[in-house]
């Protein structure tokens, strides 16, 4: 079958992550395994990830925490009975995306992007799902609460980190994550007389 003698640390990590009720960080794993060095744990995780790559169960990292999950291509086998995922309204979906791509972001900033008021329930739904949390206040007049995503958000959407958000780097490079006022200033400085011919088209954000 597989190689002759599996590494004891790999076995221990396999067992621990299989049994764990929540994803675990490298440090939590190392601590749980007693005297394991985080570097060794990291190396073993990399080996295991590759090992489980072709299998029906995968080892994945989400927001710095590791867990096993079923292979995405087998979703059809499992989905029919187990559909348990929360359906979000279109507004909640958009607000979640805006928070994820802009975080930390205030409610007013969310509303200025969407062009409409955000109903009180929308943020509550996202916070109740555990995907969004208040992350302090912006030090401007009124000190508005700002929001950010949580490790559970990364976990749920299969993101290793926010850098995995599709297109985030391109959007940032294109200035599409900057406020309109800032973009206006930049555009006006760039070529105030021909606003329609703004920066050259190097990237399609879609």
């Amino acid at each position: 079958m597989s190689e002759a003698e599996p590494d004891p640390l790999e076995r221990a990590i396999e067992a621990t992550l299989f049994a764990a009720e929540a994803p675990m960080t490298v440090d939590a794993l190392a601590a749980h395994l007693g005297d394991a060095a985080p570097g060794d744990v990291r190396a073993a995780l990399a080996t295991l990830t590759a090992r489980y790559g072709p299998r029906g169960v995968h080892l994945v990292e989400r927001g710095g925490r590791w867990h096993f999950e079923t292979a995405p291509d087998l979703a059809h086998l499992l989905r029919r009975e187990k559909e348990q995922v929360r359906r979000l309204s279109r507004a909640a979906t958009e607000v979640l995306a805006i928070i994820a791509y802009h975080e930390p972001v205030s409610r007013a900033e969310i509303e200025s992007i969407r062009g409409v008021q955000t109903s009180a329930g929308t943020l509550d739904v996202l916070m109740e799902a555990g995907w969004v949390k208040p992350a302090g206040r912006r030090e401007v007049p009124g000190r508005p609460v700002i929001y950010a995503t949580t490790p559970e958000f990364l976990d749920h959407f299969g993101l290793a980190s926010r850098r995995d958000l599709s297109g985030i780097d391109e959007l940032r490079a294109a200035g599409l994550l900057d406020p309109v006022d800032e973009a206006m200033e930049a555009a006006m400085r760039f070529d105030p007389d021909e606003p329609d011919e703004a920066e050259s088209d190097d990237e399609d954000p879609s």
Partner: protein, 266 residues
Amino acid sequence: MSEADQPFMFPPEASRPDSDALYLELGAWEGPLDLLLDLARRQKVDLRQISILALVDQYLTYIERAGAMKLELAADYLVMAAWLAYLKSAMLLPKEEQEDPSPEELALRLQLRLQRLGAMREAAGRLMGRDRIGRDVFLRGSPEGLRTDRKTVWRSDLFSLIQAYGQVKARTAPRIYHVANRPVMTLDSALERVAAMLGVTLEWMEIRDFLPPHASPELKRSALASSFVAALELAKRGRAELEQEAAFAPLRIRRLKDGTGQGLGA
């Protein structure tokens, strides 16, 4: 990846071919910006190359037709319509008559807002299309669970132990020593002693003669006090009488002849 029922995925134009379908969707938009973005999408060009004038026309047409069909329109749609109508007229004016901010700036601002909203809408669609836990990938159905029992290991040493015991003793010992070092004669023993000695004779005796002859000075003071009280007690019981010739003169005591003194010595 894509879910056809996600409303923000903007399926190909074919599925929304005519503007009549547009009116049926009244209420599907979240405000005028949302409607504008949808209209802009129908121009099938990059949002950066969008023709704002064409977009304004489409919006105004839409609002007009909705009004003709007597559809209830929210106030902000009408405000946007008024603003766009102003923008359109300003854009058609010769440049030198334009005020500040110029209509081009206003148009650019609108375009930038549409780009941003469009970008987030697509991002939301892609986000929802990811492999989500509980829909596309699944966690272990019944994990055994990990438990960490915290156990306290207590530590101490012999020196602390003996020191602690010494401190307990030091704290409680003084009470014992103070009593042992202060010899006293209790009232009971003084009573016994004085009564016994009175039984020997009927003569007057000085109270000092009742004190233990070899006692330490401290015990003597205690014995004197106790014997004095004992003498008073015997006098009160009618078994002895006391006399003193003057203040600070020797106090003398004698058994009463007719008292029940006989029994005292027994």
